[in-house]
Each structure stands twice: as C-alpha cells, then as structure tokens.
C-alpha cells in the first residue's frame, strides 16, 4: 500500500463574511494535493476571488480551519505569514504590477523580497522573461505594455520563485483565445515541474484544455465537487452553526 499523499491545503468548514453581511462563502471544505492542476469555476459573484484570497493569505476566514503546508494558518501569528506567502505565486485578476518598475523589476520583485542577491537575479529573471516571450520588453514600464504582455509579466512574477502553489484569478480574462491557450500551456509546464496550480475561471471551455485537471465549482458561496477532486468530505456540515 502506497503512503498517503500529504495535502498542501486543507479547508475545514470555512465560512467568510465581510462585516455583518451574510456569508459570501459557507461550509467550504476541501483538500488540495501537491502537483495537481485545479480549476475553480463558478459564475461571477460566486465567491471565487474570496476563496482565492483565503488561499493566498490575504484574508482570514470568519470561521472554520485552514491548514497550509502542514500548518494551521488561522492561529499563526501574522509576522510568520510572509514565509508562507513566499511559497505561493499569485496572478491577480487585475495583474497588480508596480507601475513605476520595469517588467524586469516587476518579475524580480519576489526574489528581492526573498532576499536574493542582485548579482543572482539577472539570470533567472531574464530566463523567465524569455520564457513568457517578453525578453525584448524587459525595460518597459507596465503602462507601455499591452494587456496580454502585462498578464505575462504578472505570470512570470508569480512563478519566478518556483512556488509550491500557483494561484491565478481569471488569468485569461483579458486576452484572446490564442493567448489564453498559450498561458494555460505555461501553467501546465509549471505544473509538470511539481507546482500545484489553482486557476479560477468562469470560462468553461478552458477546463477542457487541461485533461487531467480537477474541478471545484462554487455556486453562491457553496462548493461542489463535480469530479470528486475534493478528497476532504465536510466533517461537521450543519453542526454547531
């Protein structure tokens, strides 16, 4: 019998509400395993971005438990959270590039944050820009790049640190179908290197492009499991709420 896979993320009955409004996420329980490719789908307003915020530690849940990389991140002191954030790469829906930095410096940012010496930056960042086809635009500021180019810079920035998990929020939302496919192939290549990939999208056609992907579906803040990917059945749904 093979050893059980060690989960990379575990949500247990997680709920999220902003202020005193009703919960935008309710009873969310799932497990993500290393090296898998996940799609998070759902209509606009279903709570995809909120769930991703919990994943990339931009938000604490209102209730429930979250373990990441074997650690309970809910009770973790906030000064220890940056170390966990560094293990993830995030592609934001609106890219969130730093306007006054060049494409090169934007991509280099996670490495600088991680304390990589300047002398050791140039090679990896240039290679990454080459990989996303922007080697010639290394000195360009985000404002001078097209939407697709900005998206590729954002992706390069997300993967430059070889993260354990890549979280991408609608990464193909602003590009044409050809570019969308190209970006998905980039994610697949990264996934083959061992990175867990979570892509939020409302584009159902995209799901078919990655045959081995696992799908999580959000509907009005509730999570369903159409492919049986979520090997973490809720233990206490409806109990104590």
């Amino acid at each position: 019998m093979s050893a059980p896979e060690e989960e990379i993320v575990q949500f247990d009955n997680v709920g999220l509400r902003y202020g005193t409004d009703r919960e935008v996420l309710s009873n969310i329980s799932f497990t993500l395993f290393p090296g898998r490719f996940y799609f998070l789908t759902g209509a606009s307003g279903a709570g995809k971005t909120s769930l991703l915020k919990l994943l990339y530690l931009a938000q604490r849940p209102s209730r429930g438990a979250i373990r990441m990389f074997g650690t309970d991140v809910i009770t973790l002191p906030r000064e220890r959270l940056p170390a966990y954030r560094r293990r993830m790469g995030v592609v934001f829906q609106d890219f969130r590039l730093v306007d006054h930095l060049s494409a090169f410096d934007n991509v280099a940012l996670p490495l600088r944050v991680a304390g990589v010496r300047e002398a050791d930056l140039h090679g990896p960042v240039s290679d990454m820009l080459e990989w996303v086809g922007l080697a010639q635009r290394a000195d360009a500021r985000p404002a001078t790049l097209s939407g697709g180019e900005q998206q590729r810079v954002a992706i390069a920035r997300a993967v430059i640190g070889r993260p354990d998990m890549l979280v991408a929020d609608e990464p193909t939302g602003n590009v044409d179908p050809e570019m969308a496919l190209k970006l998905i192939r980039l994610f697949e290549a990264l996934n083959r290197l061992g990175t867990t990939v979570v892509v939020a999208t409302h584009d159902v056609h995209l799901l078919r492009k990655v045959p081995d992907s696992l799908i999580m579906r959000l509907d009005k803040g509730m999570l369903s499991d159409p492919t049986g990917a979520l090997r973490y059945p809720p233990r206490r749904v409806g109990v104590g709420q």
């Binding site: 990339y56 954030r85 730093v98 920035r157």
Partner: protein, 275 residues
C-alpha cells in the same frame, strides 16, 4: 521633506546654541563670583573711614580664608560714581564708602562672611561684607530660566519634526498603498516594507539635517560675533566652546534618528492593520 527637516534642525541648532551660550555665561559668572566679596566701610567721617579701612585690610590680610584683597583707591571709586554724582568733589555731596575687593580661597558662603564680620566688629564697626554672587543672583536665575526655555523649545521642535515625518510617512503610505500591498502579498515582511520607507526618510533627513546644521551653525556663529563685538565682560562670557559645537553637530544626527524611527513606527503601525 528635506526642507522641513532643514528648518527644524536650523531652529533646534539656534535654540541649543542659545541655551549652551546662556549656560556658559551663567557658569562663568558663578565661577568668577563664587569666591568674591566686597567690603564697604560706610562711614561719613573720612578720617574714621580711612582708619577703619586700614584696620580691616590688616585684619583680613592675616586671615587664612582670604586669598587676596585689594583696597580700591578712593579716586577709582569716585570715577565709578562720576556719571551719577558729577565731577565736583562728590565727597562733599554724599559720603562715599571705602571699598575693599576680597577674593576668598573658597566660596563666599554666609558662614565665612559671618566669621569675617565678627573679626572686624571691634576695629572696623562700619564694615559691611557682601558676597558678589548675591547681587547677581536674580540675573543668574533669569539666565537659568532662559536655559530651560531653550530646552523646552528644543523639545517642541523635536515633537514638531516627528509630527512632520509622521504626516510625510502617512502620505507616502497612502501614495504607495498599491505597491505596499503587492510587496506584502508577495511575502514581504513588515520589517522589509518599513525599511524601504526608512531608507527614503534617511536620505531626506540626512540632506535636510546637514543643510539645517549649516544654516543654524552660521546663525549661531554670526550672533556670537555680534555679541563679542559688544565687548561686554558679562556677555562675552557666553561664547561657545569646542564641545558645545560638537553638541550642535549632533543635532542633525538626532534629527535623522528621530525621523527614521518615527517613519518606522508609523509604517509598522499602519501595516499591522492589514493581515
């Protein structure tokens, strides 16, 4: 920002320079007068006054507490009084006391003066001895008060400078909020983000501090030159020593440290509000 810090530092250097000069002035005056006393023979009859003056000088010159005494010539006393009493033999208008300038080995405290008064009581009953420091006590007290005012001014300037840096840091935080959030979400620690702001403030504060020191020190030096030109014994005692200039040179260093730590505190306090 550098100009705000430059103005703050210049004003602080001026206040500190003034405070140190006043302190030097008070210390020098206290030192000069601490062992000094004046003996007056207040006697209308010139012959009796001369006899008692001679006797007092003889007695005091033998006393171990007296280091030096000078009988001030009557002509000198009359010259001193000339602006008030005129040149026409002032002795005819009012009796002028004889004066003996005393320098004691130790401070002219009340116990020593009482003992000297007792010694003179028999042969110079018209003698009155007063410590010179006593006359200047109100002046020294006023100088001390001005010193405290300078210190208070420095405190207020430090507070105002810190408030200016606080506002600048908050403004910079607002302007760079997106960048900060990105660095934060990429795993940047509070300390890393605070250091970015500290470096920026350090550069501004260093330039401003240096500029402020030059302006402030020049103003202190020029003011000192003006007072020196007055050629007044009391005022010229308030010059700055080498150590005082070194203290003034430390003002911008203090301003830089204050600015950097204020920026750090402001940024960290703001970052703690986000996860």
């Amino acid at each position: 920002m550098p100009w705000v810090i430059a103005i703050m530092v210049a004003l602080t250097v001026l206040a500190a320079g003034g405070g140190l000069a006043l302190d030097n002035l008070a210390n020098r005056a206290r030192g000069d007068l601490a062992g000094s006393a004046t003996l007056q023979i207040v006697e209308a009859d010139p012959e009796v006054r001369a006899r008692q003056t001679e006797a007092a000088a003889a007695i005091l010159s033998q006393d171990a507490a007296v280091a030096e005494l000078v009988v001030v010539p009557q002509e000198t006393v009359e010259e001193l009084l000339e602006p008030w009493l005129g040149t026409d033999n002032p002795e005819d208008a009012v009796p002028i006391p004889a004066l003996i300038d005393l320098r004691l080995r130790d401070d002219a405290d009340e116990a020593t003066l009482d003992r000297l008064r007792d010694l003179l009581a028999e042969r110079a009953p018209a003698a009155r001895i007063d410590a010179q420091a006593q006359w200047l006590a109100p002046v020294l007290s006023a100088l001390s008060a001005l010193g405290w005012v300078a210190l208070g001014l420095i405190g207020l300037l430090a507070f105002t400078g810190a408030a200016a840096v606080w506002l600048a840091a908050r403004n910079a935080l607002g302007t760079n909020r997106d960048t900060i959030e990105i660095v934060h979400l990429l795993g940047g620690s509070d300390d890393q983000i605070a250091r970015i702001f500290q470096r920026s403030i350090l550069a501004d504060a260093s330039v401003g501090g240096l500029l402020g020191l030059v302006i402030g020190a020049a103003a202190v030096w020029l003011t000192g030159m003006q007072f020196t030109a007055l050629d007044s014994g009391l005022v010229s005692g308030g010059g700055l020593q080498t150590t005082d200039w070194l203290v003034l040179a430390l003002v911008p260093v203090g301003a830089v440290v204050l600015a950097v730590y204020t920026a750090r505190f402001t940024v960290l306090a703001s970052l703690r509000k986000i996860l």
